[in-house]
């Protein structure tokens, strides 16, 4: 039950604003994907098109080989939970769960109840009367218990306190291992969740700036620190994401393949090579002033 996702030359516009700019990528499915991007980078638009909440202006999206838009056979396999949950006004928590059980072929009512207990959701209260965090918990409960082959969480943690967020991550991981499926999480809390991701996609201004296995991506980022002239010599020809200088010491963040030979030379020249965390890499890759390629 692993549903792949193919995105080809996808473009989406809001009036004059291009939200997604000729975007292409392919996910084999059955993994946990991290979708990272700054506000307005197009994450939500992308997820909305995959979930068929809106149509593409150009290009094509295929979920398990089929177009989702106005195609019920596909959309019942896809679940997108947005930041505030997808909740009908005036509905009580128990109504939301009941409605989901009617529409969702893989719905697990027992699991939904267990999650609702875990988050201490008040079943008889209106969702609109709940706190932001509790509303997020309703969304997460629906998203998890739907057990959709393609499950997407778009910043579905807002207002949740740290213990509840970690309970969500643990639950996501546990349930994913029991029932592997395609999970896409968009988040700004990169440090918290980066280790859950098998692959990471980074969007910037509607374009894909990185898509790779998390480990591979991290290995392509590197901080280079040492005497300014040696650092400059080492980094020439590499993509420089950022640099800082203090006196004669320079620290440069680079992105690209660096072979063992070059590493050895760096060590010999007194240049220290260090890793870059996903959050830092993300910041540098999506920094408006940084080089794009």
């Amino acid at each position: 039950m692993t549903h792949g996702i193919d995105v080809r030359n996808l473009t989406a516009r809001f009036g004059d604003v291009v939200a997604l700019d000729n975007l292409s990528f392919s996910l084999t499915g059955g993994k946990i994907y991290g979708l990272l991007g700054r506000n307005g980078s197009g994450k939500t638009t992308l997820l909305s098109i995959i979930a068929a909440f809106r149509a593409a202006d150009d290009g094509i999206v295929l979920v398990d080989g089929r177009e989702p838009f106005e195609n019920g056979r596909v959309t019942e396999q896809v679940c997108l939970i947005r930041e505030a949950g997808n909740v009908v006004d005036g509905a009580k928590v128990q109504d939301v769960l009941k409605m989901s059980s009617n529409f969702r072929p893989h719905w697990d009512a027992e699991y939904a109840e267990r999650l609702a207990d875990m988050f201490e959701l008040p079943m008889k209260k209106k969702v609109s009367s709940l706190s932001r965090g509790q509303q997020s918990a309703v969304g997460i409960t629906v998203g998890m218990a739907t057990r959709a082959p393609v499950t997407m969480f778009d910043e579905s943690y807002l207002g949740l306190d740290a213990p509840s967020r970690y309970a969500f991550y643990d639950e996501l991981l546990r349930d994913y291992m029991e029932q592997p499926r395609t999970i896409i999480m968009s988040t700004h809390l990169i440090e918290e969740v980066s280790r859950l991701f098998e692959e990471v996609l980074i969007l910037d201004q509607g374009r894909l700036v990185a898509h790779d296995e998390t480990d591979t991506l991290l290995r392509r980022g590197m901080s280079v620190t040492g005497p300014a002239s040696s650092v400059d010599e080492f980094t020439s020809g590499l993509t420089v994401l950022n640099h800082q200088q203090l006196g004669g010491t320079k620290s440069t963040t680079v992105f690209g393949q660096i072979d063992e030979d070059k590493r050895a030379k760096a060590r010999a020249a007194g240049v220290e090579l260090g890793p870059v965390g996903l959050q830092d890499l993300f910041i540098h890759l999506t920094n408006g002033g940084g080089e794009q390629r």
Binding site: K31, I32, Y166, Y169, D170, L173, R174, Y176, M177, R195, L196, F197, E198, T214, D215, L218, R219, G274, P275, V276, G277
Partner: protein
């Protein structure tokens, strides 16, 4: 448990090797499954599997189909040999190089080592605190 210094799968492999060296994991002991490992350390199971696969490649662990992963009977010996070589390459050789640069005769170093620590070692042992004491609590 993990830091950003090296890939997580590598750190997983190192942690298991340390358990084998310390005796916490003995020959033919079963190790945690990748899923248990992933859940415990809150990491993607594919990452954990990568660490385990590396250990199988290196002959430290072996697989029993449908049952799980176990510590190879000769794993400890193998790791001791590897660490011994690494100790000379990464600790002794650079020390000797440095001693040459600053003109310390090797005899003086040998004498110093044989005489034992000259000052209280408490401060210098700070880096030896086992990492697993702070694991899992984040």
């Amino acid at each position: 448990m993990f830091d950003d210094r090296s890939p997580i799968y590598y750190q997983i492999a190192e942690a298991i090797k340390n358990d084998i060296l310390s005796g916490a994991l003995g020959a033919d002991d079963q190790v945690m499954s990748t899923n248990q490992y992933a859940a415990f350390y809150r990491i993607n199971p594919a990452t954990a599997a990568k660490g385990f696969a590396q250990l199988v490649d290196e002959g430290v662990l072996y697989k029993r189909r449908g049952i799980g992963m176990f510590v190879s009977p000769d794993a400890r010996q193998r790791l001791l040999t590897e660490r011994r070589e690494r100790f000379f390459a990464e600790v002794v050789d650079p020390m000797v190089d440095e001693a040459r640069v600053i003109g310390i005769p090797l005899e003086e170093i040998v004498d110093r080592i044989q005489a034992g620590p000259q000052h209280n070692g408490e401060e210098t042992t700070g880096t030896q605190v086992p990492e697993d004491t702070r694991g899992g609590a984040q």
